[in-house]
Symmetry: C2
Subunit: 177 residues, 2 copies
């Protein structure tokens, strides 16, 4: 059985939407998802707000109640019939997030066994067939077939096979376009 | 450069000694390392003590002040000149331990980058050349060359290339027996 590793932030979890929500809570409305197109979140906010959005990412609660990416639960269920699924998160970037991320995974994806949850900063260590990730940094290092999951910040990236969303990922990977 | 993944408990960290120390603190002296030969810790203690030793392993502080395995720091420094080193711990067995384990690694092995610290329950996911681990369960699944690190509980295991301790591991892996 072929094996897929799947990233959490901006792939299983709608991290960008959650960042916007926390930003709005602190600084009021103004930014929208459309503003994020082709950009990284921190480059869009005033210099004076950047330390605050870094604090959000290092807040233990931030990752606990992140919304699901639309279609993720159904997609993982479908893909599980043909692939062995690992979730691989670069949680080492935010060590306070380990427990929140793990609890979030157990809540939303109870069928993914604890043994198949991986925290690793460098996904080149994964010996699996596919990696679905939004991060060009991780995809370029990965030794299997990299698949980029569309996120606002990566829309201009052309080096990888791309899936637009979870229905597209299922269609491509299950061989039913 | 070839890559080695190295387990934490009973390999970089002297977990058995720490379990004995915590056990003695609760129940007084009696057990020694010699008693552990060929056995798992929990099988050695009276039935009535077993829930308490399980609690130790699920206590967030347990993994924070575990002693180093003798020679581990020097060995990792030496091996780093010839191999790319990852630390891979099956922390998913004890999710409260993530942060303690990570802090312990950063304290004792500051030269191992956060990107090279991996938490994974099933080490078959690692795409590296060698795995040094005390656990036959993990070694038998691993897809590279498994190397068993001697621990009291695995002395009767014969399926894997064995290193007795860190000086032996360095001698074998650096090619200078």
């Amino acid at each position: 059985m072929q094996r897929i590793a799947i990233d959490m932030d901006e792939v299983l979890a709608d991290t960008a939407a959650h960042q916007l929500a926390w930003y709005e809570r602190d600084f009021g409305p103004g930014l929208t998802m459309a503003d994020l197109h082709g950009k990284h979140f921190h480059t869009l906010v005033p210099e004076a707000h950047r330390s605050r959005i870094r604090e959000h990412l290092h807040h233990p609660a931030f990752f606990r109640d992140i919304p699901l990416m639309p279609g993720a639960v159904d997609a993982i269920r479908t893909l599980s019939s043909r692939f062995e699924i690992f979730v691989a998160s670069a949680a080492m970037e935010h060590p306070v997030s380990f427990t929140s991320k793990y609890e979030w995974l157990r809540e939303h994806f109870p069928d993914i066994a604890p043994s198949h949850c991986v925290f690793c900063g460098d996904k080149s260590v994964l010996g699996v067939d596919y990696l679905i990730d939004d991060s060009p940094y991780q995809l370029v290092r990965f030794r299997g077939e990299p698949i980029i999951f569309s996120a606002p910040h990566n829309v201009h990236e052309t080096r990888f096979r791309r899936v637009e969303d979870w229905p597209d990922a299922v269609a491509q990977l299950m061989g039913t376009p």
